[in-house]
Amino acid sequence: MTRQQVLDLYFLDARHQLVELAAFLDRVQRAGGRDDFRLKAFHVALGELASGKQNKAKRVLLAFSDPTTKPVAKAEAKGACGAARPRPVVAQRRRRTPPATS
């Protein structure tokens, strides 16, 4: 398809989805309380939309993905929440702290 054909076929739907996204962010901003890791990941993903890079869908999905590589000790729940939870602070400290002796 030409770019014109893609715009003719998908522009209105994409515009609709973008307005929905904007309204969601307004709703979050209006609401009291704290942010959490999901909103943080959301803003990282939004940054990908405005970038001039290719493969935006893949980049958005990666922004929400768990970057770790090892299996977790136990499945504590069955569902997924859509964004990777931050790693435990203790584990992060362990990784950052150099060995006490060598």
């Binding site: 398809m1 076929l9 998908y10 493969n55 869908a57 893949k58 999905l61 990666l62 929400f64 993905s65 768990d66 970057p67 770790t68 590589t69 299996p71 977790v72 000790a73 136990k74 499945a75 504590e76 729940a77 069955k78 569902g79 997924a80 929440c81 859509g82 964004a83 990777a84």
Partner: protein, 266 residues
């Protein structure tokens, strides 16, 4: 247009869905064993379920002119209990010779835990021992990329597993390349809210070609659409894809993979 629905959980659907699928051109439906929405309390519950998939459901489908096939396995959501898993897996061999059983599936990971991985390895072993095809479920949302990598690692480390006999399902833009590069088949699941929309599925087909890719609805007891495959075929048509290309994706490709099982005969 005729098509194959290679992944649908028909035990969760009403007979109207069978009728609508048949009217839309579906000739065969393949049903992987999955999570019922709650944990079963004993291996006997799985035995009944495997009997339902291999005895009762084919009869229900046949009333609407559809052939019904199934995959047997323990889904990853119930794989945290390794003892239960061992007991359930011990039941499976007695079903493998039934005429509509295609292989081991859907197996895989859900939260990428150690026990899930252990049970996945046990099921890969079962498939290898019995020369079965494998259908793999990949985790949801934030867990998908990591889980897909762990799954591929297990499969690639087992020299008995031939990649062309494995379908890795529920791929999205951040996992499809990993799967295809491993020489395996990739399934794109069309869900209204998560996984993949028809437009994104067609994007992936345009970006990665039409080899070793199939489309499925994975319709079940949740928000899902048993007509998602023909709707995606319509999306391909809207973009100007030829009838031959559409038939390749929705009929020939799944047939090519599934015919590797001697039980898949249309």
């Amino acid at each position: 247009m005729k098509y194959i629905e290679p992944h649908a959980h028909m035990v969760s659907r009403v007979t109207d869905d069978y009728e609508r699928m048949a009217l839309a051109g579906c000739v065969a439906v393949c049903e992987p064993a999955f999570w019922a929405g709650f944990d079963r309390s004993s291996p006997a519950g799985f035995h009944d379920y495997f009997s339902q998939l291999s005895e009762h459901e084919p009869k229900r489908a046949a009333k609407f002119g559809l052939q019904h096939f199934c995959w047997l396995g323990l889904n990853s959501k119930e794989a945290e209990d390794v003892k239960l898993a061992e007991e359930v897996l011990a039941l499976i061999p007695e079903f493998l010779d039934r005429p509509n059983v295609l292989g081991i599936g859907e197996i895989g990971l859900n939260k990428n835990s150690r026990n899930e991985l252990r049970v996945f390895e046990m099921q890969v072993e079962l498939a290898a021992r019995h020369h079965q095809l494998i259908l793999v479920h990949t985790p949801h949302l934030e867990d998908k990329r990591k889980g897909t990598r762990l799954i591929l690692e297990v499969l690639q480390n087992d020299r008995r597993i031939r990649p062309e006999r494995v379908i890795i399902d529920h791929v999205e833009e951040h996992t499809v390349e990993l799967v295809l590069a491993a020489g395996m088949w990739a399934g794109m699941t069309l869900y209204p809210e998560t996984k993949c929309t028809p437009a994104r599925a067609v994007d992936m087909l345009e970006n990665h070609g039409q080899e070793r890719l199939w489309l499925n609805s994975a319709c079940d007891w949740g928000v899902s659409d048993p007509l998602a495959v023909p709707k995606t075929a319509r999306e391909m048509k809207r973009r100007g894809h030829s009838a031959a290309t559409i038939e390749k994706v929705v009929f020939q490709n799944p047939g090519q993979f599934l015919r590797q099982s001697p039980h898949f005969k249309l």
